[in-house]
Amino acid sequence: MLAFKLAYKNLVGAGLRTWLNVFVLSLALVIIVMTWGIVEGWNVQAKHDMKEWAVGGGEYWNEKYDQYDPLSLNDGHGSIPPEIAKLCSSGEAVPVLITQATAYPGGRMRNILLNGIDPSQQIVKMPTSVMNGDTSVINAIIGTRMAKATKLSVNDMVSIRWRDAKGTFDATEIRIAGIFHSNVPNIDINQIWLPLDELQKMTSMKGQATYIILKQGMTSAPTVPGWIHKGYDVLFEEFDRVIKAKHASSSVVFLILLSLALLAVFDTQVLSIFRREKEIGTYIALGMTRWQVVWLFTVEGAMHAVLSVVAGAIWGTPLLYLLSKNGFAMPKGSEGYGFTLAEKIFPVYGAGTIIITAVVIMLATTIVSFIPSRKIARMKPTDALRGKAQ
């Protein structure tokens, strides 16, 4: 207890030097918590958006379909089995049919995917109901990224060419009935959405689908021959990998930041021991063992971390709170990155992250404080008292 009291008095007595170290450490703490919060916020938001816009409560894929293999689209479709058809008719699932095609916006050739979906579906957030409009043409919807890339606007007509299930070409003109804005690029970039029955007719794939989207919250998924249920573990696999990579790259930055802060603590400790030799000699002369003095200096150094946690809480809490309320704006053009990313990320701070970060900073500071303090154990008390131990 004596060591803590002495350490606190010495720290406060050191004045500006102490508070500078405390501020630098608290800065590291707040930045680490904020960055983890942003990555976690991105993770939570992106998964939420993906569920809302694309994957619902999970999917059934035709056994020959693989979303990462465009070649699988030729064979990766089949008749919707009765078990799933029942879910579709009760509004608990929606089938999607995909086929490769070429679009000619403004007379330019562009490879695209045609996606057929029931316009009256309520499973995903896409405004498919607008495809129910004018029945004299095929109505389609596209995302903002696709609209920007193709310079298409609502009510524009665009030619598309595709091959049917047997491989015969056909072409027609479709009307862009709506443009939606979504943070999920997979449903937007090079994608055109049409009414399912139209695409089934166009491709001679009546009653067929490539995959089925289930309603969010569906807890059980029946086993269906020829169709494979894909849960979030598979559907988010690619995104989880991005987040994991982001965590790893952030850790490097944290390490650099923390190292700089710890370097300041280390320097302070070295300077303290050098300037306070007589004080060290006096402690030993008054009956403290050399290791008790080492402990005193270590506690003194480690207390920087304790104070930094307090300081970080004082100035960091309102800042982090404001950030979580107002969000962190992503740079312009981030839409085209190719992964789910909102225009604004609202950080999510986990108690675990804050505690672990604080503990790591305290442990690291203690170790960094102890390393130069070991020198005290090798000092001769008489030399120390005369200020000639080093």
């Binding site: 465009p70 070649l71 689209l73 030729n74 490769q100 070429t102 000619y104 403004g106 007379g107 330019r108 050739m109 490879n111 030619s159 060419r161 091959r163 049917d164 047997k166 491989g167 015969t168 070409f169 056909d170 072409a171 027609t172």
Partner: protein
């Protein structure tokens, strides 16, 4: 009166017998154009919204299943090589120093920005194997009297369900072709001009391909020299020749 009817019937019979069947015309075209091997130097003039550009190349082909093309100009495309073997297509790009196989969605991409896609190049040109031909009318194309041949796919799954070909009545060579989608929409048009006699056969030295859904004036394919039925070494048609 009876004599008049007899004369009219006789005339119609003569007319009918002078019009060959669609199948005969297709066979005549194949006979005229088919060669065991072809070695040619040619260029493609691709017209687009931002002007036109010319790509020159040398090409070797054997039958319908083996073809090797080496691009010689412009500098950006020089050294690019393409190999077609049966239903597979590989391309070598000197800038990346890699050979890639063109498959799936990539086959639908245009060749060097032209109106031709890779899958157009993969098509089997022996149409008699795939289409039922009938003569539907007579017309003129390139100031020559032509039969209009309508080709209907023999079975489902042909790339184009209906084709129309304008065939020179005298030289048995197509002068124009139109490709239609399943719904009857015109998708592509090809004009064949500058017909010359090459080693005893009539051969079009200039072709203009036009993707009708795409803007621009299409792609001109101009043959500057062609040799038919010459021996081509086997190693030309191997992946080793790509590098």
């Amino acid at each position: 009166m009876k004599q008049l009817i007899f004369l009219a019937l006789s005339f119609l019979t003569i007319q009918a017998s002078s019009q060959p069947s669609g199948k005969d015309i297709l066979n005549l075209i194949d006979k005229n154009l088919a060669a065991k091997t072809r070695i040619m130097t040619a260029k493609m003039v691709i017209s687009g919204a931002r002007g036109s550009r010319t790509i020159e190349f040398n090409s070797w082909s054997e039958g319908e299943n083996k073809a090797y093309t080496e691009y010689t100009s412009p500098a950006r495309e020089k050294g690019t090589k393409m190999l077609k073997m049966e239903d597979k297509l590989w391309i070598f790009s000197p800038s990346t120093d890699r050979i890639i196989q063109i498959t799936g969605q990539m086959l639908r991409q245009s060749v060097m920005g032209s109106d031709l896609s890779y899958e157009d190049m993969m098509e089997d040109p022996a149409m008699a194997n795939h289409y039922n031909a009938s003569v539907t009318a007579q017309d003129t194309a390139d100031n020559r009297k032509c039969w209009i041949l309508q080709l209907n796919a023999l079975k489902e799954g042909e790339a184009y369900e209906v084709r129309k070909i304008w065939v020179d009545q005298e030289r048995n060579i197509p002068l124009k072709e139109e490709l239609y989608g399943k719904s009857g929409k015109l998708l592509k048009r090809t004009s064949l001009t500058d017909v010359q006699k090459i080693q005893g056969r009539w051969f079009p030295m200039k072709m203009i391909f036009k993707d009708m859904l795409r803007s621009g004036d299409g792609t001109q394919f101009i043959i500057s020299s062609i040799k038919l039925d010459e021996t081509i070494p086997d190693d030309i048609f191997s992946k080793a020749s790509l590098k």
